[in-house]
Assembly symmetry: C2
Homo-oligomer: 308 residues x 2
Amino acid sequence: MADSKIFAPKTFAGVLAPVLTPFAADLSPDRRRFLAHCHWLLDEGINGLAVFGTTSEANSLSREERMELLEALVEDGVDSALLMPGTGCCAIPDTVRLTAHAVGLGCGGVLLLPPFYYKGVSDEGIFASVAETIERVGDARLRVYLYHIPPMAQVGYSLDLVERLRNRYPETVVGLKDSSGDWSNTAAILERFPGFATFVGSEAYLLDTLRGGGAGSITAAGNVNAAALRALYDAWQSPMADTLQAQVTAQRKVMQGYPLFAGLKAVLAAMRNDPDWNRLRPPLTALPAEQAAALIEELRRHDFPLAA
Amino acid sequence: MADSKIFAPKTFAGVLAPVLTPFAADLSPDRRRFLAHCHWLLDEGINGLAVFGTTSEANSLSREERMELLEALVEDGVDSALLMPGTGCCAIPDTVRLTAHAVGLGCGGVLLLPPFYYKGVSDEGIFASVAETIERVGDARLRVYLYHIPPMAQVGYSLDLVERLRNRYPETVVGLKDSSGDWSNTAAILERFPGFATFVGSEAYLLDTLRGGGAGSITAAGNVNAAALRALYDAWQSPMADTLQAQVTAQRKVMQGYPLFAGLKAVLAAMRNDPDWNRLRPPLTALPAEQAAALIEELRRHDFPLAA
């Protein structure tokens, strides 16, 4: 991959949304609502679409369902440079297939979960998984963002492993999303890897991440609060930044009082007056109507923009 | 599925092995060694083959790889009634496809992991996943064994959930494998669900499980110690039972001092004098040669039958 520099692609920066996946009554992905949601997020100013993330219920989708939705997005005119699909599966052949597919469509990057079924695996084993994936895809256009989310995956990327992967694949492993929920881990990454495109999972740390030299945030809240998050990102060096951050953080605190994915779908359902958005695929379940109403009411009190 | 009784199949009983999956140098499944291993296990007296379990590195295999290996087994003359493939994936469409495929081949049952990416999910959500799978497969021949392995999957089947699933699908949900590593959980299952085909994950509890009315053990050790385990199963009501159990338990304790899956492959490699058996697919890694030698030496001292 010695010639990879000729592509000189920009890395992602700003606020990305792990796009919620709407489901039809038969639990199949609802392509029409998915496309409409993506276009709306871009109109709201989101800097990129991290489709098929944790919040997207991507791990409840088959490989084929993910590929079909990604193709639909590109066919529908979305600039694939703005797409950072999640492609990390438990099995290397699946990860390779999704990653190669994303690169083939021109996606700006992929967000790579480590294989997450086997627990207590070594850095050596995770390194081998990622290396095997990169080698098999064998495409200089590939840009990998490591997806570190130990609260969910239970398996993650240690700092030493990140260093080793960057050293081995400096043109390919260009960034990371830290969803550890542990700011000290994000701070350590920012300090140790200047120039690495580091995204924080919680928008409560967006400003801290940017001030620490990071790239931004890939946050579930981007699905419902994209305009405010983009405004914060654009203003991060202005005197307003802390005030905007405080507002966004307060809204996040409200949402944290509810199951996150179901809560976000309930908010979207309310914003669009479209109850079909309330559907989740098992094992996740929708918010009971009363809880959804309480969440909406609480957000209203925090000046959350509920009109779509 | 009202007519399901006409099949009146026997449930599994005895000692089953979650069959190790051998890999070729390119990390593809090694079909020849896989078939030979399965035939050898049956010759040794194993009561059934739980292919594509945790020990099988099944979660590192793609759906297609699992289906091809299963078809190869049946084409190679293995009685499909003796097969209990693991079919539980993160995404319902994948679980349905593998389960329907197994039923189509006449497998005696499937071992069903709950969807395991999303953590902290409700019993309601897991129930919906299993129900959706059973309904979509829609085949009265389907026999489901619930696979409870919280140390690995982090998501499991509570006793209340087991009861709910049995009540809803009495002809279909016929058994469970308890790999919680917690005997009090196994004991509670045995007490609460008499007649349920309960398997324990650790052969150290084989005798206790049988005495409690359970069906047997689905144990990783079955890959290398099938004859001794079968002898214990056959003799469980004899005066020799406790002595045989003590021997098996002592051998397990030796193996527990080493990484389990890599250790088992090292033992097989030594038994067959076939170093290719030492290969694991990332994220799992082979045992370093020194550790492997130490394991073999220790097993020898415990009268472990190392000749294949």
